[in-house]
C-alpha cells in the first residue's frame, strides 16, 4: 500500500537555527498538509498546499514557517528560526479519493 514518508524521524536543534522537515506524499495525491502535535496536546493543523501554493494556514503558521514543493515528489516544511515552543511531532499528510494519510512524523526537539 502506498504511504507517506518523512525524514528525518528525529531532529534536535538549537534555538534560532533553521530546520527543514521533508515529506514524500503519496504519488497521485494533490493535497498536502502539515500538522503538529505538541507532547500531550491535540494534533493541530498547520497548513494545506494545493497546486503549488498554500490553500489554507492556521494562526500557528506564522512568518517563521514556510512550505515548498521543490520537485515532483518532495514537500518540505521550513522553520526559519526555531523557538523552544516549536518542539513537537510534525506530521505530513496527503489526501486523495480514499482519504487522508499521514506520515510517521518527525520529532523535533529545540534546545
Amino acid at each position: 500500500e502506498p504511504e507517506v514518508t518523512q525524514t528525518p524521524s528525529h531532529q534536535v536543534t538549537q534555538m534560532g537555527q533553521e530546520v527543514i522537515l521533508r515529506c514524500v506524499p503519496i504519488s497521485n495525491h494533490l493535497y498536502f498538509y502539515w500538522y503538529r502535535q505538541i507532547l500531550g496536546q491535540k494534533v493541530e493543523f498547520l497548513v494545506s498546499f494545493y497546486n503549488n501554493e498554500i490553500s489554507e494556514k492556521s494562526e500557528i503558521f506564522d512568518d517563521q514557517f514556510s512550505v515548498e514543493r521543490p520537485d515532483g515528489s518532495n514537500f518540505t516544511l521550513k522553520i526559519r528560526s526555531t523557538k523552544l515552543e516549536d518542539s513537537a511531532m510534525y506530521f505530513c499528510a496527503s489526501s486523495g479519493k480514499a482519504g487522508k494519510y499521514f506520515g510517521p512524523g518527525t520529532r523535533l526537539l529545540v534546545l
Binding site: Y31, F91, S95, G96, G99, F102
Partner: protein, 116 residues
C-alpha cells in the same frame, strides 16, 4: 470553525470486552468524519472514514463507527478488543469544501489500554 470533542480521556478494559468511544462534533455544514489510531511509537493510521451513504461504516481491525447526524456524533465501536488494540484513538472532522481536500480538526484523543 468546526470542533471535535471526545468523551473519554483514558479507557481501561480487559481483553474480549467491548469498546465504545464517543465523538461529537460541532459544525453547521456537511462534514467528512474519520477515526485515526496511533499505536505506541507509531504514526497516525486511518481506521475508518465516513463520507456519505450508509451511516454505519466498517474499518480495519474489526472497528466500526456510526454516524448519527441528529446527534452530531460519530462513535467508534469494537465488539471484542485485544491487547494489541492498546493505542490512542483520535476522532477527526473535515468540512466538505473541496473533493479530496480534508482539513482535519482533531479531538483530544482517547487513550485505550487493554489488559491481558
Amino acid at each position: 470553525a468546526q470542533s471535535v470533542s471526545q468523551h473519554n480521556h483514558h479507557v481501561i478494559l480487559s481483553e474480549a470486552a467491548s469498546l465504545e468511544l464517543g465523538c461529537n462534533y460541532s459544525y453547521g455544514g456537511t462534514v467528512n468524519l474519520f477515526w485515526y489510531v496511533q499505536y505506541p511509537g507509531q504514526h497516525l493510521q486511518l481506521l475508518l472514514k465516513y463520507f456519505s451513504g450508509d451511516p454505519l461504516v466498517k474499518g480495519i481491525k474489526g472497528f466500526e463507527a456510526e454516524f448519527i447526524k441528529s446527534k452530531f456524533s460519530f462513535n467508534l465501536r469494537k465488539p471484542s478488543v485485544q491487547w494489541s488494540d492498546t493505542a490512542e484513538y483520535f476522532c477527526a472532522v473535515s468540512p466538505l469544501l473541496f473533493i479530496n481536500d480534508y482539513k482535519l480538526s482533531f479531538g483530544a484523543g482517547t487513550t485505550v489500554t487493554v489488559r491481558a
